[in-house]
Every structure is written in C-alpha cells, then in structure tokens.
Assembly symmetry: C2
Homo-oligomer: 429 residues x 2
Amino acid sequence: MSKTEWRVGVAGLGTVGGGLLNFLSDRAGFAPAGGKAVVTGVSARSRSRPRPFDISNLPWFDDPVELAKSPDIDIFVELIGGSDGPAKAAVEAALNVGKPVVTANKALIAEHGAELAALAESKGVPLLFEAAVMGGTPAVKMLREAMVGDDVKSVAGILNGTCNYILSEMDSSGRSFADVLSEAQRLGYAEADPTMDVGGFDAAHKISILAALAFGCAPNYAAAEIEGIDQVALLDIQLAKDLGYKIKLIASANRSDEGVLVRVHPTLVAQSHPLAQAGGALNALFIEGTRIGRIFIQGPGAGSGPTAAAVAADIADVMTAANRPVFQAPATSLTPFTPVDPARNLSRAYLRFLVKDEPGVIAAVSETLAEAGVSIESFLQKPVENAEGVPIVLTTHAVAESVLTAAIDRIANLSVVLERPRLLRIARI
Amino acid sequence: MSKTEWRVGVAGLGTVGGGLLNFLSDRAGFAPAGGKAVVTGVSARSRSRPRPFDISNLPWFDDPVELAKSPDIDIFVELIGGSDGPAKAAVEAALNVGKPVVTANKALIAEHGAELAALAESKGVPLLFEAAVMGGTPAVKMLREAMVGDDVKSVAGILNGTCNYILSEMDSSGRSFADVLSEAQRLGYAEADPTMDVGGFDAAHKISILAALAFGCAPNYAAAEIEGIDQVALLDIQLAKDLGYKIKLIASANRSDEGVLVRVHPTLVAQSHPLAQAGGALNALFIEGTRIGRIFIQGPGAGSGPTAAAVAADIADVMTAANRPVFQAPATSLTPFTPVDPARNLSRAYLRFLVKDEPGVIAAVSETLAEAGVSIESFLQKPVENAEGVPIVLTTHAVAESVLTAAIDRIANLSVVLERPRLLRIARI
C-alpha cells in the first residue's frame, strides 16, 4: 500500500487494450488506492500495425512472456485471448514470478481457471478477470465478493451480446438468421468467423466461470451443454411471440443436491420477464441466493470502453492488496464439480412440428406425446403462407429431457410429420 | 491473512442482527478468506427481551461502546441504527482503537460519513456499509469498486422498499395512501412511525451515500432535496397511468459541471422502463458512467436474510485486509460537494389542476403557462365521478424548476382554479 507507483504491462493491443491505454492516459492520476498506475511495457503480435492510439513512447516486447516476467512491471494485464498458446504461457510466467495478473480472457479462465488459481494462490498474488464476463457489468465481483454471505442456487442470463443483437434484430425486423448475421459482420458486431459467438461457446465459457464463482467449484467448461443460435428459425421467433415469449440465448448454471448443471441454449422467455426485455447487445443476469433472493444485473457486455473500465477496476483491486481466493473458496478446497445429466433435467418445452395438412394429424401427434408421458400445456396452429406443410406448435408441462427426446424420436417417425420436430426450452427463471 | 479466527462483536440484535447470528451459526465454517468468523460478544438495549434466536452462550455487553473497544473482538458490527447516540459513539470507539467496522446504518454514514472515513483511514482500518443501501443488493460495492475505472455521471433508482410497496399497492388495488399505509403497518412492512420511509428521508440517506461513492465527494445529506410520497394522491397514480407512466419514489444524484444535485421525489416513470416494472418492495438502481454506459441492478432492499448477507460479505471483505479508501477517494482528498440549486434544474413535469367546469378554463390555464414560458407536451382531461371540480392534467417539455414554480403560483391565483396545482416530475432516466 505504500507503493506510490504501479507499473503495468499490457499484452494484447486490440480494442480492449487500446481502451485501457486511453483510459490510463486520460486519467493520468489513476490512483484509486493511493498508488498511481503507469504503463511501462506493451506487447502485441505486430508493433507496426496501424492503431488509433500511440504506443511509440511505450517500451515494446515482442514476446508477451518476456513482458510478463519483466522486472519493470508490477502488474501483468493479459488481453491476448485464446485458451492456450501465448496467453496461457504469459499468464503462467507472470504468476510464476509472483506478479499479479489481470485478464479479460474467458476461454483461459473457463478452461484452465482452477490450475491458474492454484498457481496464483501458491504465489500469494491475485488473478482477476472481471472483464471476462459481461464486460463492464461487474458480475464477477458480485458473485465472488458480494454473494459470499449467501448460498447461490442458480445464475442465468444473457452473456453474449452478438447473439442477443442477432436475435433482437430477427425479432424486430423479421429477417432470417443468415441475413442478420451478415449485416452484423459488416457492421463489426460479429466476427468474420462467428462460431465462438453464434455457436454458444463464448456464453459457455462465461457461464462456466460464473458457476465456479457462484458455487465454489472449479470451472468445468467441458461439462457445459452447449447449443447456439445458428438453428433458430425466424418462424420459431414469430410463433414464440404469438405464445407470449421471446427467444433468447440463455446461459444458466443450477446447483441441486445432484450436482451442477451448466447449459447454454436458445430459450423461450416470457415477454414480461426482464431477460426478454434486455434487447440489442445488452447482457443481463439473474443471481438467486438462498438468503438474498433474486438479484438482477444488466449492462453492456462488450465494447472497448466498458471492458477497459472493468480491467481498470481489477488493476485498482490489485492495488488494495486484498488477499482473497480466486474463486470464492481457496483453490485447494474448491468443491468438486459434479455434473448433472441434462437428460434428467426437467424443463417446459416448446415443440414445433411441420405436418401434412390432413385430418387426424393433431390426434396422431398428441396421442404419441401422451403415450410417451409428455403433458401438453398449450397448443397453437396458424396458417403460414407458402409453407411446405402446416406448422403446429405446442408447449409442454415440465418433463424430463430424456422423456421429451424419446417422444420427439417417435413423432419424427410418424408419416404425417415432414421434418424432425424442433425443440426449444422454456425458461424456468 | 494468517489469522485463523476473526472474533466478531455485534451491537444491535434486531432483525438484521438476528439474521447475522443465524447465518454465522448455520455456516459455522464461514471462512471466505481463510480465517473463520466467530461471534465473541453481543450488545443490545435489553438482554432479556424475547428473541427468535439464542444469545445465552454469547458474552453480553450492556454498553455497545465497551463491546466496540473490547480486546475480545477483531471486527465491530454496528446494527443499532440512528445517526447519532450509541451507534456513533460505538463506531467511533471501535475505529479509535483500530478495529474494522461493518455497519448497516445509512443515517450514520450519510450524516457523518466523511469524518468517520477520515478516522478509519487515519487508523488504517476499513469502514464498510454495504447493508446500508439496497440491503443484499451490492450497490455500494459496485460504485466503490467496480466503477473506479469510469467517471459516473448519475445514479437514480428506487431505494426505499416500503414506499415502493405502498405505491405499487395503491396502483394495483386502487386504494388510498392512508389505507395502504395502515395495512403495511399491520403487516409489519412499515414502521409505527413511518416518517423516515414515507417522508423520503431514508431514501435521501441512501442516495447521499451513493452520490459520495459515485462522485468521490463527501456525503452531504443536508444538501439533498427531499419530497416523500405522503402527498401522492390515488388520482395522480390513475391519471399518470392514463398517460403511460407509473409513479415511483425516485432517488437520484447527478453530476454536472455546475456541481451535484441529490434529490428524492415522487416521479413519473414510463411504464416500459425497468424502474417502473420494479414492483412490490424491490429496490432498483441505474448507474450511468462515461465509459461503461448504463448498468441496472435490482434486488431486495431490506429484510433479515438479504441485509445479513450483505453484512457477512462486508465481514469477508475485512478478512481480505484490502486497503481501500472508504469513499472511492481517500477521505483527505474527496472532491468538495458543490450543490446545484434545484430551481435551475430542468425537468419535464406533470401538472394536475382541479378547475371549475366552465368554458374558457383550459384557455386560461394554457395562456398562463405560455406567458410564463412553459411549453405543453400533452394534455388530458377525463371525467371523474363525484369530483368537486374537473381535473385536468398536462405534461410539459423540459423547463427550469424556477420557471415552473412561478407558473404554478400564477395559475393557483386564477379564479377558475380550485386548489393549488399538483406538480410531479417526469423521469429523465
């Protein structure tokens, strides 16, 4: 605390790195806990690449690992990205020489968080990653610090702004997934290779981190069940709307006596629910605790300004010299993560069938569902123009996924059914 | 950090104190940062008063000041309440002997926060008060820690659950303020003397604290402009609804080049706005930062469980030995609080007049407004049964409060106007 200056090394000079350099130069006196933050080293893939900010006066390192180990820095900020490779090597190098690390890297923390936490704690230095989840919206700090006086039962929300933007645009403009995605790519809202976002993998990284913080277990990205939005049809968005729902990519983690279930999938959320109303690229999260009840938090999930602000807040946290476990409980005593078989999970479901327009079809479908033990809650049939067949939609009462899947298999084989039925879950939140 | 046990003294054994004792006995191993929290002393007004929890095995102190100074405690938790008297004396006593303090006392922090922060920082010990604002919803931590990497422009929200409950009930049941208040008192949702809540003073304490955290200034409760909900008529709730609004008690703090404006008043909020949808006893807050943009947080603002969880989180923070200023900036360097004259503030307004049912009335009112420089945005006249006169309602474009007040004075003197016009602000949020 008597430190008057904190020398910061920044590896990775993309939008977040640029935002951080801008922030630290705008706020030259940034000294939230007494000492002042000063950038004393930077590293990126190319020194000469044109950037909207000036790095000519900053000591340059070709190798982020050298920057991480440099005696000229007190805090290593990793903004390279990727679960392995140079990001992991540099973070390990910094921790190994006892330097605090701040990172925005969700893949790294979701896939290697437990081992990195153990390393950080063995060296007695912090490893902070607020910017990895929800950008400038402090979900990590809330779960790690504010919820320690409670037992969290579930976290659920919208963690990928790109998907939320695409689904919101499909809903409001009536355009297809492919159309909206190409537009988002032109506007820079989606990557050239959008797989991480639209495939649900980015949201799965983030919810894996939140689950670890919420439940005091190690992050277990491998156990996450992941479904993206690339198969969400405009027709389903429109039919869901008729039933009073919006389709959102919901990432959720639930703890029960059986263990932990971490999932990402497109989900029907009642239109009046705050998560349904989080439009555009917003991120939003519900946290449910035994004592506190339900807390809702919403804000921008990405962008240079918000994400850099989160990194700056972590730098401030390093300055306070707080001695706190990386994941709520010390790495050596994290609760084992017991995955729950999703097939045993109960959900209400939305099912959409494309059927031949002939008598007896509804009876055939509903009898098959009844035989399989699936109970229907509501039913909708609407004329759709130029359709190959007639879409019928129903929602079910809560049913085990295994029962539902078996029922869908049987219905898919009915001669009156023209394609494999589409299944979407309905939010319990 | 090598501490294996943190001995906690708890002064004040009401609902929050009971919740905390229950939590610490349920979670006997509560050791969020390595050391275990153990209650080693309690104090309250009466030892023998019947309580739903057992204190017979805990060392008793008649005087909270003696508990605060006791060599048998490491952390002093103040849950007595009140801005002065024993609460202040005990907190000062603990800080003076270098003991960390955790308090849920909003009046104390709002009215004496700066001097207590200076004392705590001079002794190098934390003074934490998460439970003082929004109960279990971590608004304090968000502003103090997560927003340090940003410049906050405004905070605004619903900070008093009792008022929110009363307004929500008036809205949904069509009953008067007095009716709903007596019911809330019977149900224990409102105090026997409800002045602190319904008069807006509790919300003003809370927003004064949030303003200090947001803007890095000392809390200045004396500068808050306060209007409660005791004058909110059912008629206004109904007319506001016709115009697309709900009436909420909004506490807000805004920073501009001119200074800081801290206000609490009943406010019209568009029905689609998240603050309008925070019903029942919920608390909700918007934080707007230059870089991060808008963050929204919502949760329970009171109650034994949530508030005790917030106190427990603060105890955990003490254990981390974080060295952080009490109010974002060190007490010695807090920005001076420059209050802005509310009369210069621009607001859109809702005005309700009770007028004689005769020709030319609307012309008289609207001419007077035009002469005063108030521009009308919308206008509503509805027949109301058994009314003494005819209510007419209008909303204005943004106008300085001084201009508005002058216009109201002139209209109140018109012979066709039967009572002083009712003014409510329309939220800018």
